[in-house]
Point group: C2
Chain length 403, copies 2
Amino acid sequence: MSYCTATYRLHDPKADFHKKAESIAVGLTVGSWTELPQAKRTAMQKHLGQVLHVDVHEDLSDADRYADITIAYPDVNFSRDIPALLVTVFGKISMDGRIKLIKLGFSESFQSAFPGPKFGIEGIRQQLDVHNRPLLMSIFKSVIGLNLDELREQFTLQALGGVDLIKDDEILFENELTPIEKRVEICARAAEEASKETGKKLLYATNLTGRTSDLKQQALRAIDAGANALLFNVLSYGYDVLHELSSDPEITVPIAAHPALAGAMYPSPHYGISASVLLGQLMRLAGADLVLFPSPYGSVTMPRDENLAIRDELISSDLSIKTSMPVPSAGIHPGLVPVILQDFGMDVVVNAGGGIHGHPMGTAAGGRAFLQAIDAATHNIPLSDYAHSFPELQTALNIWGGK
Amino acid sequence: MSYCTATYRLHDPKADFHKKAESIAVGLTVGSWTELPQAKRTAMQKHLGQVLHVDVHEDLSDADRYADITIAYPDVNFSRDIPALLVTVFGKISMDGRIKLIKLGFSESFQSAFPGPKFGIEGIRQQLDVHNRPLLMSIFKSVIGLNLDELREQFTLQALGGVDLIKDDEILFENELTPIEKRVEICARAAEEASKETGKKLLYATNLTGRTSDLKQQALRAIDAGANALLFNVLSYGYDVLHELSSDPEITVPIAAHPALAGAMYPSPHYGISASVLLGQLMRLAGADLVLFPSPYGSVTMPRDENLAIRDELISSDLSIKTSMPVPSAGIHPGLVPVILQDFGMDVVVNAGGGIHGHPMGTAAGGRAFLQAIDAATHNIPLSDYAHSFPELQTALNIWGGK
């Protein structure tokens, strides 16, 4: 028998959590059990959910009393796609009191329908030919209302700073000023120009938007126009759409998953789905090569342990598919680079917007300051020492702090 | 200028909510404003978000202090699809502290991309030729593991009870025992047989599942096989998929939207998206003919005011598209019918599972008991009076209560 598992955290001052676990295991699979005649039970056994663990935390106030419950769901009950799994394990029960989905377990059989990230951490490093340091990503700033010339100008400044990746703003949709094919063309050309100065490769993740059934064709047009990466607002379309795009042999570029809307589901302690499931397990399973999520460092923050839980899922060896590159985002400045390395190790994208564009010496200098910080941190040199030789880094430390 | 609007509820003990509103209006549109030179501001004005209302509720404890903030987002910033709207108004901001999206406003221009429900309340009534009473829907019980014969048997019992609609269980996916085309064929035939006895029409909403890009073809195959309605787990696929299916001229049957997974987003007072937005505004805009949601009556409950807020959005005359039929579900028994009518009026589907299958005289009697209750309630006759002549209703009142 092959099962996928789901672990839930239930808050309740008085509930019999063992009984509740049984009712979930039965209710979300065969519907009823004790009243079934024996012959029927034998036929239904292979469809019946199983309670694997009930871990009750009693020694708390009534308001905080909770249990973590793990249920095994027979694979035979659902098709091998994420909508079927999520509807099975959290469809109805999501509406039944204080319950949060905190972990999934994918059977081998279920996993076999998911080729996973096409590039993953190693593939992205190969594309960029950068192997011994964290990567650096830069985010366009205030792109709504810009025309192609203004966009190119901003792109060039970021590229000249030596960043490894540039991503569209996630709120840049198909529009008359900078339609995707034109945008990709001018940015690809600008990247080529900049590369002559920096000697570096660059991935530009253009935002894939519009109607669901047009996404693939739009992606192919963007790739034809020179796109070498895509940005995708996964949660507004559903994981299955990412799964379809990432496993499509014609989509030959890495996909960066944006966490837009995730905050509608993960922050409550009592309801929803944990960030490590939403932005960790499911993004990787669905095939995201890079996954953005709110960093624990900035103003839009996520607690550090939740961040590390996402990271753990993106790189876990529990899955046989490729790993996904973690991209903690928001509030990042050069002074944070040593902390980011400490938290995430080498396999991380340092992703900055204001920390690059807001550099007093300009956007290109902002990129260089980050590369200097990365260089220092990967060689265990205190930033403040390294900054003596690099005015860009020194300036960044002066205004944003860090040592 | 044409705008869509979003209203948020923000909880914060100390925040300057007016300042916060300005920062949302600027941050989610042009990105920055005060630092822009005048010429740039003129060019950007049409892209700038506007604060419409800030309604601060001060006279509360710190923990409860909140404000309702309404922002207008220029349509020119996003394409006319739900993913673009949601990412614009709640993409990044969903992850920024205690903020809940509680209401949307759709401009005429935005609405013009949405034909809305193909049938709506009137269309469904016409299909069933039932005009002067609430409709009655019956839910399959424990269908996982059933073979076609067992499924037909259960279908027939429900149909013989005289229900107007029968829906698949939302956790019934494509499977070897009851594949969709076979399931539809045998149920369509069973419906025809039953109709000879009941003289009534019947819609059977079969569950549309599987990979996103296959859904349309699967729907067409089901329709070819005789399906006269579809059930769809909208939130596991995204609203845009419903929008595409509902607006497709080849999909010629009503679509019932299931709320599976909605509980990951609406129950927290501090985070997520209100039920009236998720299951009211967006389901209707995306074209659901019927919308299921947890009733305020059963064990899986939603507060009554949230229920009525969903109803209001489904039938509101603010939108020029057709109305969607409200289907409050879970915990429904015949004794509740007068309350349901009081809360929802005539245009509601009385939707029952256990309240039909659990009837001591059997499933068909369970359906008849509901129709008797509906008949009594629409004629303002107390159920307990009416039950004197109807043993099915009397039995139901005896075990579940109601008067």
